[in-house]
Amino acid sequence: MTWLRGRNGRGKTTLLRLLAGLSDPAEGQILIQGQPQKELGDEGRSQWAYIGHQNALKDDLTSTEALRFLARLHRLPHDAAALKLALQRLGLGPARLQHAPVRTLSQGQRRRVALARLALSATAPVWLLDEPFDALDIDGIKALNAVISEHAQSGGCVLLTSHQAISIESPKPTVLDLEIFAPPSRARGLSADAAHHATGPSSQIPHSTHSTDSTDSTEGPQ
């Protein structure tokens, strides 16, 4: 499990989108288990689950219907029992919430519906999560922590960005700080508090990621 850190505009989202295959790198290529991402083809995309800033929920559908659409789209289990359980795990247990139109849900509840997809995504080894803790309250964070830590413990790989400290107990997240990849010229141009964000002793650079600029990184189940 890796926590991708960096200041606003440093390229966290860009890196996640590159890894998900939504954007093409300007230079270099992305290797997934030694294979260029482009050659994995359409079926290869079932290897990872990407949840971006946006929740991808339609206002007019109920939370169960919205989740069922996402699950069917990504070929995840989408029977009623599985959907109910997934929503329950993210704290959306009451039937009232499961059958409420997304339009009537709060921002945090919508985030939970979008994240409930993860509870169905056990078959996708790699999870790419862009600010998953956004808009979640304490209970929501706890529920998401449990889902992530279960996935990581069963051999899955999670790469997430967050501006809040991550409170997952096991496994402890590896920190990947994008600040240390900034070219010296650009780093000097940053404001004085750059030193404040410099990586602590806990930071580790996964050996596979050479540089964020060439985005020549390898991603695979760890």
């Binding site: 359409d42 929920l57 339609k58 559908l61 070929r75």
Partner: protein
């Protein structure tokens, strides 16, 4: 591939069923625009009968174009489009599903409403049937080309107007052969040549447009 196609198509139909008024707007536009012509050009039945096929076709064309401009915009705004492109299937199936849904919601109601136009313009029964048949071959072309235009202009500020400018020239062959076929029937000749050309256009667009739409979607979400 097929799973993603049905998944997206059924969701679009479900969304339309939740917003029935929105779904009926293109049909209402079609009928109102049609009824303006007798008021504008005068009530001579002979002349109205002569210009009817062209008018019905132009109104169908405009109704399709006006409704297609929002085809991908909503999905782009809430992140659904990203998730659809990440589904383990080609983006072509997403493009094909969205265009099919547009045809079912716009093209099909227009065809069903065509006998009303036949009554308004005092067309003969064979001419009305020929008009319906030409629209049956022609409106899918409009939906497919409109989908391509919508994907190309996705995210642009004045996308709606630009879309019409991009697509109208491409749609003129369908307009010419579609309206021409009815003219042939009215003058007592065989319209099979026009219908064959319209069919050929439909096949070409069905093969080509989803490919181009998929490529345009990938570019606009990057």
């Amino acid at each position: 591939m097929r799973a993603v196609f049905w998944c997206v198509l059924l969701r679009d139909l479900q969304l339309a069923s939740r917003r029935r008024i929105d779904a009926l707007l293109p049909l209402a536009f079609f009928l109102v625009a049609l009824s303006l012509f007798p008021l504008g050009v005068g009530p001579e039945p002979e002349m109205l009968r002569e210009i009817a096929p062209g008018i019905v076709w132009v109104c169908a064309l405009l109704a399709s174009m006006l409704s297609v401009s929002q085809l991908f915009a909503g999905d782009m705004a809430d992140g659904s489009l990203e998730q659809m492109l990440l589904a383990p299937a080609s983006a072509i199936s997403v493009a094909a599903a969205k265009c099919s849904a547009h045809w079912l919601l716009t093209g099909l109601p227009l065809i069903i409403a065509t006998p009303v136009a036949g009554l308004v313009f005092d067309m003969s029964a064979p001419a009305t049937i020929a008009l319906m048949f030409s629209l049956m071959l022609g409106t899918p072309i409009l939906s497919l080309l409109g989908g391509l235009g919508a994907a190309l202009t996705l995210g642009l500020r004045s996308g709606g107007m630009l879309l019409i400018l991009v697509v109208l020239p491409l749609a003129t062959p369908a307009l010419i052969f579609g309206a021409g076929a009815v003219g042939m029937v009215e003058s007592g000749m065989s319209a099979s040549g026009h219908f064959s050309l319209l069919g050929a256009l439909l096949i070409t667009t069905t093969v080509g447009a989803p490919l181009a739409t998929a490529a345009a979607l990938r570019i606009s979400t990057e």
